[in-house]
Amino acid sequence: MPLISNVHGSPSKEDIRNIIKEEIDSANKNNKNSNKSNQVFVSHSFQGNDPDLAKTLEKELAKYNISAYLAEKEKRYGYIISNKIREAIRDSFCMVVILTNNSIISASVNQELGYAMGIERDIIPMVRTDIKDKVGVLLNDIEGEEFDSSNFEEKCRIIAEHISTLPKNKNTPSEHEQKFQVERGNF
């Protein structure tokens, strides 16, 4: 049965266009609400077994209905991260960075971390115990979870549970960022 009928009992072309448009708008809206506002960016190295660690975290997050964005392996240069990654970080309400011997020297992890800090996303470090002294000064003050090879899954569960309690509406500039934007006005 048509949802909208004209006086002759069948939908007009205009009605059909409106229905399709509403369907698309609704799908977009749902998609936006269900995926992006509940997304966590997982920053990790592509060396060694780090991708497996990221997948383990992804599974634990999924148990709390939180989607994880894991970057695909791609070559990156210098300090420029792709628009796709920027968008994914902006669309995520927080970032978990898995810090291992591989990731602390990874250019892409450092780029992602810098960008997330720049737009003031919450950052939760998971630090392998044997490298905790090598973590940079900017992350030293941020509380995270230490892990080793025997307890990573358990630590992921703790992190996922913690993340599930965080506010999700982080897609707007932070208070400080907004003030600087106001100061600039149209300049």
Binding site: Y77, G78, G114, R184
Partner: protein, 246 residues
């Protein structure tokens, strides 16, 4: 339209750099106008003939003055067209036209350089990679100097954008350099950062940050080379020693 508005319009009608340096945390009216002026004069980078930032004292070509909340400077002279504001919060915002796009404005760029060292500029819009490296080095060095004065507090946020880049080609004007030829950019805007850096980080990393980002820009022209970092390190050293050929 007044002179400032004319300059602002000129900057944005072609390729331009947008540079934002700011503290991580906002604090209104933290510094006096005089402090801002003193820092600009003390810390501008003077390795090239045209200092970064350029403070326009000559009213024929621009101006430099206090406004409530910030100091401002603008200039349009030869191939240089710029406008910056330095706010009392410590935020510094600078729009700078790409010199490459104004080669024949008023005084040709070629007359300022050693023409025997130059390739003819292409007809198409282009980016000169060595000039980009020098520009980035000036920005990060200037940021490092301001940070050392405590302008940004514990952490500085640095964001750099290059606008109107789509279909621009890579071209060096130094005839001795092979390569770089006709690689094309397919991004309208190139964004670098934001980088969050402590004053100490900036002091130790500013030179590397400039090179990393110059390499990153060239990658968006699909240009990569195993020797590029070495080349840029030598170019940057020449910049610091003021021994560059152009």
């Amino acid at each position: 339209m007044n002179k400032l508005e004319e300059v602002q319009q000129k900057i944005k009608e072609r390729g331009y750099w947008e540079i934002v340096l700011r503290p991580f945390q906002f604090q209104d009216k933290k510094f006096s106008h005089q402090q801002l002026r003193n820092w600009l004069q003390k810390h501008q980078v003077t390795n090239r003939g045209w200092y970064y930032p350029h403070i326009s004292e000559n009213k024929d070509y621009g101006d430099y003055y206090n406004v409530q909340g910030y100091v401002e400077s603008y200039v349009h002279w030869s191939s240089y067209v710029e406008n910056f504001r330095f706010y009392q919060s410590g935020q510094y915002v600078h729009y700078k036209g790409m010199q490459e796009d104004r080669i024949n404005d008023d005084i040709p760029l070629s007359s300022q350089w050693n023409t025997s060292m130059q390739n003819p500029p292409p007809k198409q819009l282009f980016l000169e990679p060595i000039m980009a490296l020098y520009q980035l080095t000036e920005i990060f060095l200037f940021a490092s100097r301001l940070a050392s004065e405590g302008v940004f507090g514990e952490q500085a946020v640095i964001s750099i954008k290059l606008h109107n880049m789509n279909h621009r080609i890579l071209r060096t004007l130094d005839f001795r350099r092979p390569g770089f030829y006709n690689r094309e950019c397919h991004s309208q805007k190139i964004e670098l950062g934001p980088f969050i850096k402590t004053p100490k980080d900036l002091e130790s990393e500013y030179a590397k940050l400039a090179i990393d980002n110059a390499i990153g820009i060239l990658a968006l022209f699909d240009y990569t080379s195993n020797t590029l970092r070495d080349t840029f390190e030598k170019d940057q050293q020449n910049f610091f020693n003021k021994t560059f050929s152009f």
